[in-house]
Subunit: 332 residues, 2 copies
């Protein structure tokens, strides 16, 4: 079985690669080849149990997509994207990568299928809760309208529509997944507006101070990196017919307030940890976060067997196991 | 004021042109120039009260769009589209015209704006109830999910998303309108699956037999060609700020069953007319129609002053006034 991961150099791409290397199989099939793709050439692994090829190229150039798909991967994980803040600042780049790049990928699969009728890969597309925009209901149901308020969300919503139509026409077998905010995100603090949800847990656990820029009653929607990888591998192997015509699913997660996050940290790691969180209100971040979804009823995904943590303590324990235990190096 | 109509050779485009010619103004402003665009050069009018320019070109060629917008129209009516059946049969053509062509138009407006900051036209986009797919609620509300089941609907839903994002960024002031099935559509019967909704009224009124391919309990969503033109001119002149961030609106219309259509025909024109409708069930058409929306609660549009007929008798009377009175030639 050949697998392709676009955006393989990102945090989730690297964790997915590690999981595939560890298992050597996916959905009962042995992996024979893994192609890792990103704008910069992703790291490969020494002593991998199967062939690994690393490619750095630009998906918004159609000939690059053609070259990438020449090996006809059986499963495509399409994770490559310009992130939310950058897509908002650089309008052209966001559309070029997130929409045109994705469309090229879909079109190229279709082109191969015209020549090789039997080719119909599973295409797992990483979408985003950014496809939604307020006003929200208390819990966002599976049939909530996609009315994004950012260019990133618009690009993801458009790609979701293409995914359903190309799947309906039989060009590939697409499954989109809207992943909650990943928490606890490993590595150094970054400039993402959502970064504090992770840093208020991650930094105290290694003896550092963390800054909380919003009020403690802010509610948000989380899943661990381990769950994100689980969503992707599950999406790669489920029965496509059971998904129906609406091919993108909101993934399950944990809805909790910042106060509940902090209380979970106290219970798991003690009151000393909590004292390392410094409150420093930031108007701009508070305003942005106020526009984000707070809670989902991910019924369709749950019925299809997608699983996440059920409370925030569990999310912290996963972080400690996966990132802070002696056996593992912290992912930089 | 400069006005551009794309798809001007179509039925609605011609009726809109006639209305603008008759009024000579739009929203209180005198029209100084009207550009009519289609893939084939639209007819112009002799003795028009303002300059009319007719252009035949392909919007999926970016340089053609550039040429078309050189005159910087103040109002753009973007009606050009490959219709539903053709977009389903010719996948490439549907996406090329309905998505790429529309995107080119939006991008070209943005390009002009980069050079001329004050340029921010009102862009009225003709979308479709095809952006919706079942299962439906009894009445489709304004926040119903866009989950199309056709390529045409997908292309329109993607264009709606672009329209909102380009408007949010200030590149133009876009208003999308989802027009009900136009009834009574003038002219000869065509091969559209929805054609019978019009032909069961239109044909009997001129002494011809009409074929009804579905059961009389089929419910559908209608507005007259006159209302469609009214939607477009109203959309060109309303206050954009009142529309909010979701820039496309479902238009008001008349929801009724085929039995109610026939009863309205009897009341308006007599029982003789009704005897000219022959029942000849068609499985394929019945199946297609079963997947179409039946009723809308077009609250946002109604609050913004959009108006349609309120019952089907009115729709028949509009047809008789506009198409069958001695003073007017029937539009072929």
């Amino acid at each position: 079985m050949h697998i392709l991961i676009t955006g393989a150099a990102g945090m989730i791409g690297r964790k997915l690669t590690q999981a595939l290397l560890k298992e050597g199989r996916l959905g009962g099939n042995a992996i024979s080849r893994l192609t890792l793709h990103d704008v910069i050439m992703p790291d490969t692994a020494p002593n991998a149990p199967f062939q690994i090829v690393s490619i750095g190229s630009d998906l918004s150039a159609r000939y690059e997509v053609r070259a990438l798909l020449r090996v006809k991967p059986d499963i495509i994980f399409h994770l490559a994207a310009v992130v939310s803040g950058e897509a908002e600042d650089d309008f052209d780049k966001g559309y070029r990568v997130n929409l045109t790049g994705t469309w090229h990928l879909f079109e190229e699969v279709r082109t191969i299928q015209k020549q090789t009728a039997a080719y119909r890969p599973r295409l797992v597309f990483a979408s985003s809760t950014g496809v939604f925009g307020g006003p929200y209901t208390e819990r966002i149901e599976d049939d909530f309208i996609s009315a994004p308020l950012t260019s990133y969300g618009t690009q993801k919503a458009m790609a979701e529509l293409l995914l359903s139509d190309y799947t309906r026409k039989g060009f590939f077998d697409g499954i989109g997944i809207r992943i909650p905010t990943i928490c606890v995100r490993p590595g150094k603090p970054n400039k993402a507006a959502s970064g504090f949800f992770s840093s208020i847990i991650r930094e105290p656990l290694v003896g550092l101070e963390a800054v909380l820029p919003v009020s403690e009653d802010v509610r948000h929607w989380h899943a661990s990196p381990r769950s994100a990888v689980g969503f992707l591998t599950h999406a790669a192997t489920i029965d496509g017919d059971a998904v129906g015509s609406r091919r993108t699913l909101s993934m399950p997660g944990v809805s909790c307030t910042v106060a509940e996050q902090i209380e979970a940290l106290r219970r798991v790691a003690g009151a000393d940890m909590v004292r390392r969180i410094r409150h420093a209100s930031d108007e701009k971040i508070s305003r942005m976060v106020a526009g984000w979804p707070r809670n989902f009823n991910a019924k369709r995904a749950t019925d299809l067997g997608f699983k996440a943590e059920t409370n925030f303590e569990e999310i912290i324990r996963v972080h400690i196991e996966d990132e802070l235990s002696d056996a593992r190096a912290t992912v930089a």
